[in-house]
Amino acid sequence: MSTQIEKQETETEEQESEPAVESPGEKRREQKRQRQAEREAQRETEEATLDDEETVMLKVFRYDPEVEGKQEPRFDDFRVPFHKGMTVLDALIYARDRYDSSLTFRHSCRQAVCGSDALFINGRQRLGCKTQLSDLDGPVRIEPLPHQEVVKDLVVDMEHFYEQMHAVEPYFDADEVPEDDLAEQRQSRENREKVKMSTRCIWCGACMSSCNIAAGDNEYLGPAAINKAYRFAMDEREGENRKQERLRIIEQEHGVWRCQTQFSCTEVCPKDIPLTEHIQELKRESVKNNLKFW
């Protein structure tokens, strides 16, 4: 994961001898700004020397509520050398480590399991680490997930997403578990198979961001949370009582009925979870469940 870095010549500091009008802090900040401008210039020359053939142009969304010049959202261009197998995340890391260390994005596992780097890449929600640059048309436009508040650059506030996930009581809670600490609950292979896909969610938020309904209705549970509910409602180990409670949660106004089967969630899910199918199955399940009481 390292990007090789050529040594930059470090400058010797020349502080202390300035008039005392500015505080040392301000002075340092001032110098820092100058230094940054120099770096910017250096970067430009460096970029200019890159051969056009083997580079990719990134257009990256920039915003920082605190930093002058970044308060108004803008796109920055980065030209990054391309090699086979390079992902969007690799390119972002390169741009950050080489050109602009203030470029901010979440990432960790770089193997599509941590769900940190769901981004809006060329108009679609994707995981940066799972998206090969060679599959994209250039210039590659990278933005934070739509419909979520931007904290800074590519980082969005996930709080709302987590709240929705938590709202479906996303934890296993069986009616009864075996007394014996060493006795497992039995689960048939078919049942595990049924919930298998739904257990794969990595909480990346791509689905929620792609759903127009979720964009319009803040209270809509959203595909990921409904899928989470599905994972438990369909798990035969939990028992009938719990299932009833689970159905009550998902069949609220802002639960499954909000889904208008747009399918974009299913299309963008990096874990290929058939979200729409799960939502639809829960709708039918709720209806069936209600008809019983007529």
């Binding site: 508040e149 803040n218 089967t261 399918f263 974009s264 058939p274 729409t276 639809q280």
Partner: protein, 131 residues
Amino acid sequence: MSQSYNRGTVEDFGRWREFSAGMWAWIFHKFTGWVLVGYLFTHIAVLSTSLGGAELYTGTLQGLEALLVVRFLEVGLLAVAVFHILNGIRLLMVDLGVGLESQDVSFYASLVLTGAIVVASIPTFLGGPLA
């Protein structure tokens, strides 16, 4: 999700171009649904002329039918209705969990079929005595 901070052009610029089949289907279905409700109200209003007697009713209807615009509007209505029906059937299938993998294909099929039906019925709709 609320967007207290407005991303300006970034947020909405040209986003529709990135819509996928399912979203277009949703938008078209909405649009056609609304047109149909609108028509339902108008339709009843027009038919209400029957309360004013046979001549008025016949006169109004035939008078309207005599207008070429109305004929064209009717073709439009047919298109809207046929799409709404076909996509409605698609949605009903989706609700039953049938053919979810080919939801995009079925949307395109609805579009094509709507086109075909509309083209095929143009002679009937535009034909017939105008006056």
